[in-house]
Each structure stands twice: as structure tokens, then as C-alpha cells.
């Protein structure tokens, strides 16, 4: 599954949304009205889904799905580079 699809699926399942309610370029606090506790839950769920470390400072209510995708792609790529260097 692509990174963006996995992020969407995580948010949709977590917040019990209909897929059409989640717009990729919309801030989480706007279209779906995510609150601070939901963001904490989202950070934990994304960490589990992608095996990367995230902080509540990185995933804020001003993030969109597109922003989160960029962030996770970057962490995944850093992780791959570190792994290659170790080898």
C-alpha cells in the first residue's frame, strides 16, 4: 500500500470518517475538526503503522494528509539511508 493510502486509512479508521470527508490538502483542524487528543492518538497510530518516531510537535492540527505524507516519506528515506550506511 502506498504511503498516502496508508495514512488516509489510519486517519479514517481512527476518526471513524467516510473516505470522502478527508481531503488530502486540507488542514486536519479544518475539514475534519481534529482536536488535540485525536492528534495524540494519530501520532501513536502512525508510529505503529510506519515504524517511525513522530512527535506531537510534528503532527499538528495545521498539517494535511499531504504534509504528513512528506514527513513520513522523509523519515522512511532517512531510515533507509542509515540502514545502507550501516551495511
Amino acid at each position: 500500500m502506498e504511503v498516502k493510502e496508508k495514512i488516509r486509512e489510519t486517519i479514517i479508521n481512527l476518526l471513524k470518517l467516510k473516505p470522502q470527508e478527508l481531503k488530502d490538502n486540507e488542514k486536519l483542524c479544518e475539514g475534519i475538526g481534529a482536536d488535540s487528543t485525536e492528534l495524540v492518538e494519530l501520532v501513536i497510530a502512525l508510529e505503529k503503522a510506519f515504524g517511525v518516531k513522530l512527535s506531537a510537535k510534528e503532527i499538528t492540527k495545521f498539517c494535511s494528509v499531504d504534509d504528513i505524507e512528506k514527513m513520513i516519506q522523509s523519515k522512511l528515506s532517512d531510515f533507509s539511508s542509515q540502514l545502507s550506511a550501516k551495511r
Partner: protein, 411 residues
């Protein structure tokens, strides 16, 4: 106190959700006490309760919100919505700064708390829902209801064991009487049918162990009583000043006219058997209502079905009412659906308001032979009787006493 109008009723109980279903079962004298099926409770000394299994069928709350709250908040939200509808109120048209919420609860939302504590010890801190902190504590329903409706006025959660919701009504009435608010959602909620909560109730030591006969287990004032049975649910009413209720042509279902409360100050669990402090609370409520004892024509009993509690309650009533105690119809309808602990007082008030409306006194079921004589117990079946002024008694662990006077119609 300044009389306060009850203009809407919302009820979620083992005997029914919504006042029509609830009243139909109450007047029929049906018991809704059953063996607990939610979890394996077979090894608990008492494993019977008034349980609600069809809450989701009545919900108007989204799944997204539901996962953030315990069942007791869910029950409060459903009851609030019912009360507002019954009152014909559109809360969005109210000034939010002049709407308040006063609720009572004894133990908090333990199903949520237990589940998350289990996960904490199994999976570590990351296994715990971030909603845990805001879901379990006794004021959580007050928070959820106020957020749901955008309520911004003075609000309060009373934690006074089983007397909590009657106290919440009393304080709500006093606050309205000072013209601090226009409208208050008042009542209480409790969800004790969970493994840990049931364990705490069992260790408290006053629960019936008559597990083989759940429907006849809760026997207040009966010689064969062996304790009360817990139940879950919520009751919420809309309260308004009489002037405002009249101005908007609301259906004034009853009027709260007096409130009194005292403490026994004797023991951390048991009440004083002499009933002196309860008698003082009752007298305080009557004085507050400017109603003399002979004008009361129904008493809604607390009815713990334990020797000391029943003895003290009957003694207190005799001290206040004297010989008249023998003639005033008195009953404990919660014998049908269980003691809703912190929500028991408001549910008794709702039952009494419906009794006034239908001119029918609901019975204490399972009361075959009174252990404490001197009251006019309405037993087994409902009895036609016109109630104009009633007294509702609610008591909590350690000797917390509260009493409320309610009247049919405006004087």
C-alpha cells in the same frame, strides 16, 4: 426556596429508555433485575443487576465521539437530548452563558478506566487511549454534555455517593432561584455494571446475594431483605424559573419547591440508625418549601434494603410526620430496576413526577412483610392516588442525607 419548574424529562434506565416506556414498566410493577451478562461475574458474591443492553439503538452520538467516552457519559447525552426534546427547547436558541448543567455521579466511568488500565499493564503507556484522562472521571459527562450543546454557564458535578443527583437538583434549583441562569440540565448518571465497579460494590457489603432469584432480590423494608441491587442508567431534567416557563408556555410537569441536606457524621460507611440527621434534612426541605408535613401525600423512599439503613429511614420519617406517617403512601420503585447509585435520586424524582401526572403510586415490589412498621407501604401493585406534594429521599454512604420536595403544578 423559589419554586423551580421541571419542564422536560430524559430517562435511560433498565426499566426503559424514554419516559413512556419507563412509566409503562413502572406502573406494571415489572422487575428488570437479571443476572449480569456483560462479563463473567459468577464468582462475585452478588452478580445480579439492572443492566441496559440496547443503548446504541437510542443514540444520536457519532462513533467518533463515542470512542472518547464511557457509557455513563453516553447515557447522559441520550438523557439530555430526550429532556430537551420533551421540554420543546432548542438549546441553540438559548444564550449559552445562561445555560448550566448540574449532574451527580458516585463512581465515575469504570468500564473505560478498567479497560485502559488493563492495557497499561499489558502494553505499557502507549497502549493507553489518550481519552482515558477525560473519559473516566465523575465530571466527564458534565464536560461531554456541555461541549455537545455549547453550554457555557455556571455548571457543577456533585459527587456525594448515592445522594449525588438529588443534591445536583437541589443546587441547580438554588442557582436558578438566584437568577444566575435561564436553564439548567440537571440530574445524574451511573454505570456500575463493570468488573471493578461491581467488585467495589460487593466489598461495600450491602448488596443482595439472592442471585438465584434476581427479580425478587431487591426487597426494601421486607423482613427477608438481604441488601440492594445495583443498576445503571441516567436521568436528566430541564429546570427553568416558573416565570420563564410560563412565558414560553412550557409544560410545567412539576415544581421543585424545597431542598435539605445534612450529614450523620458517624461512620465512614453506615448511617446513624436513629435517623435524626435524616429527619433534620427532611424538615429542612419542608421548611424550604413552606410545606407542613401533613400536606405531603407521597414519600419516595431511599430503600437500601439493609437493616440499619431502612431502620434509620423509617425512624426519620416518623420523627417528622408523627402519626401521619402511617397514612402517607410511601414506596421504593427502584426495587424494580436497581439502585442507580449517584443517579438514583433524580430517577426517583422522575418517577414521582410521572406518578403525579398519572395519579398512580408505583409500588415497592417484593415487599411481602414489612420489617419496619409504621409507614403506609404501597406494595406489589401500583395504587391510584392523587399526589399534589411529594417528598423524595436520597442517601449516601457514610450518612449523607438529602431530601427534595416536589409539587404538581404552580401554587
Amino acid at each position: 426556596m423559589r419554586p423551580i419548574a421541571i419542564t422536560g424529562i430524559g430517562i435511560v434506565s433498565p426499566s426503559g429508555i424514554g419516559k413512556r416506556q419507563f412509566w409503562a414498566n413502572i406502573k406494571a410493577g415489572r422487575s428488570f433485575i437479571k443476572s449480569i451478562t456483560r462479563f463473567d461475574s459468577g464468582l462475585y458474591p452478588s452478580h445480579i443487576a439492572g443492566q441496559i443492553d440496547d443503548l446504541d439503538a437510542y443514540t444520536h452520538v457519532s462513533e467518533r465521539l463515542l470512542k472518547k467516552m464511557d457509557a455513563f457519559s453516553h447515557m447522559a447525552l441520550i438523557s439530555s437530548e430526550m429532556a430537551l426534546q420533551d421540554a420543546g427547547l432548542d438549546i441553540q436558541k438559548e444564550d449559552p452563558n445562561l445555560v448550566g448543567i448540574f449532574l451527580g455521579n458516585a463512581i465515575g466511568g469504570w468500564l473505560y478506566a478498567e479497560t485502559e488500565l488493563r492495557d497499561l499493564y499489558r502494553e505499557g503507556r502507549e497502549g493507553v487511549s489518550p481519552y482515558m484522562a477525560s473519559a473516566w472521571f465523575p465530571a466527564a459527562p458534565q464536560g461531554q454534555v456541555s461541549i455537545y450543546y455549547g453550554i457555557k454557564g455556571f455548571s457543577k458535578t456533585v459527587v456525594s455517593d448515592r445522594a449525588s443527583s438529588l443534591m445536583a437538583l437541589g443546587y441547580a434549583g438554588k442557582t436558578l432561584g438566584k437568577d444566575k441562569l435561564n436553564l439548567i440540565l440537571a440530574g445524574g448518571m451511573e454505570a456500575p455494571v463493570t468488573p471493578y465497579a461491581l467488585l467495589c460494590c460487593n466489598t461495600y457489603g450491602c448488596l443482595s446475594k439472592n442471585n438465584d432469584n434476581p427479580q425478587s432480590a431487591y426487597r426494601p423494608f421486607d423482613k427477608k431483605r438481604d441488601g440492594f441491587v445495583i443498576g445503571e442508567g441516567a436521568g436528566i431534567v430541564t429546570l427553568e424559573n416558573i416565570e420563564r416557563a410560563k412565558a414560553r408556555q412550557a409544560n410545567i410537569q412539576a415544581v421543585i419547591s424545597g431542598y435539605g441536606t445534612t450529614c450523620d457524621g458517624k461512620d465512614r460507611i453506615n448511617p446513624a440508625t436513629d435517623g435524626k440527621e435524616l429527619a433534620r434534612a427532611i424538615q429542612m426541605a419542608l421548611d424550604d418549601a413552606q410545606v407542613s408535613p401533613e400536606k405531603i401525600d407521597y414519600i419516595s423512599l431511599d430503600g437500601m434494603a439493609c437493616d440499619d439503613w431502612d431502620l434509620g429511614e423509617v425512624s426519620a420519617i416518623k420523627q417528622v410526620f408523627g402519626d401521619k406517617a402511617k397514612t402517607i403512601p410511601a414506596s421504593c420503585p427502584k426495587s424494580m430496576f436497581g439502585n442507580l447509585l449517584g443517579a438514583s435520586g433524580v430517577v426517583d424524582v422522575i418517577t414521582t413526577v410521572l406518578s403525579m401526572e398519572h395519579n398512580l403510586v408505583p409500588p415497592t415490589i417484593n415487599l411481602d412483610e414489612p420489617a419496619n412498621n409504621g409507614l403506609n407501604y404501597i406494595k406489589k401493585e401500583a395504587k391510584e392516588y392523587k399526589i399534589n406534594k411529594a417528598l423524595v429521599i436520597s442517601r449516601g454512604r457514610g450518612g449523607i442525607n438529602s431530601a427534595l420536595v416536589i409539587e404538581k403544578g404552580v401554587r
